[in-house]
């Protein structure tokens, strides 16, 4: 594949459809993703922002468990970020437990690891769907002390 220099001319096209522009975007997006393959797992590192600016990337471990299960784990990164800023995690015990229960696919294990389970559906795994869900959950957990708090009910109860 041709290497595309990042200039507006390459990114933005003049016609209704220009596959080169799309390719250039894909290349720039992939440049920010580092994938290290081990014998039994992948380590995928992507840009990640914590508002205290102490973290600019996060690594998820993707590991097949069996034919029907793949696990995505943050190796404790999200809770470590929260702990560094909030001091201790005990105050979040109830929330984390409810969070895991409500989500269903998340579990917190020893060493503060947060793990998301991706089950196969009709023999297929939605790895990327699980990956971005994990990115969302890591963002939520790492910043659990910073959210604006509200009494409103988001689902089914907006006033």
């Amino acid at each position: 594949m041709k290497d595309f220099e990042y200039t507006p001319d390459h990114i933005f096209c003049k016609t209704d459809y220009d596959p080169l522009s799309a390719q250039a975007f894909g290349k720039h997006l992939h440049d920010g993703i580092k994938i290290i393959r081990h014998t039994d797992k992948l380590h995928v590192t992507v840009p990640f922002v914590c508002p205290d600016k102490k973290q600019n990337s996060i690594t998820f471990e993707i590991k097949p468990v069996d034919d029907s299960v793949i696990e995505i784990c943050d190796n404790g990164a999200s809770l470590q970020m929260l702990e560094q800023r909030a001091g201790n995690l005990e105050q979040f015990d109830g929330w984390l437990s409810d969070f895991a229960k409500k989500e269903g696919r998340i579990k917190f294990a020893s060493g503060k690891n947060m793990t998301l389970t991706v089950w196969s559906v009709n023999g297929r795994f939605d790895v990327l769907g699980g990956f971005f869900d994990m990115l969302s959950y890591a963002s939520i957990v790492a910043n659990a002390d910073l959210y604006p708090l509200t009494q409103k009910q988001a689902y089914g109860g907006a006033k």
Binding site: Y6, P8, I11, F12, C13, K14, D16, Y17, S21, A22, F25, G26, H28, L29, H30, D31, G32, I33, I35, R37, D40, L42, V44, V46, P47, F48, V49, P51, P64, D67, I70, G94, W95, D98, F99, K102, E103, F125, V127, L128, F131, F132, L135, S136, Y137, S139, I140, N143, A144, Y147, P148, L149, T150, Q151, K152, Q153, A154, Y155, G156, A158
Partner: protein, 134 residues
Amino acid sequence: MSDKTLLDLCHKSFDSICNTKGNHWGLDISTTIFFDGNGMAFHLQQVEPKTLKIHTDQSFWEWLAYATLDVGCYHEEIKTVARRFGVAWDEQKLELSITFRRNAMTISQAYFRLAQVVGIVGNFRHYIHFKNKP
């Protein structure tokens, strides 16, 4: 299926992390971010010669409207969360956006930063529940 085959599958998935199509005002980006089965799309455009903007599109506000019943109740919450990540919330267009100079942030950093805020706002239920804890 062997572990190796599954690893191949996982690895290969990242080749198609999004689908992008150019048009005369920028790039339409179909992400692999889903809420309740609804796919989210972004749009990238040039706002100045060296400044780009990536923003959510109709798919996001339609889903948010459905999920919250009334997005208007959450403007302040969304704006506050977004601001912490350097992301803007447009109350009129109901879109999250990140505007960045090419020498200050890469496309990848901007894309994932927007994805983080979309992920947080799209999962509002988690921290709203947090508030209800004493």
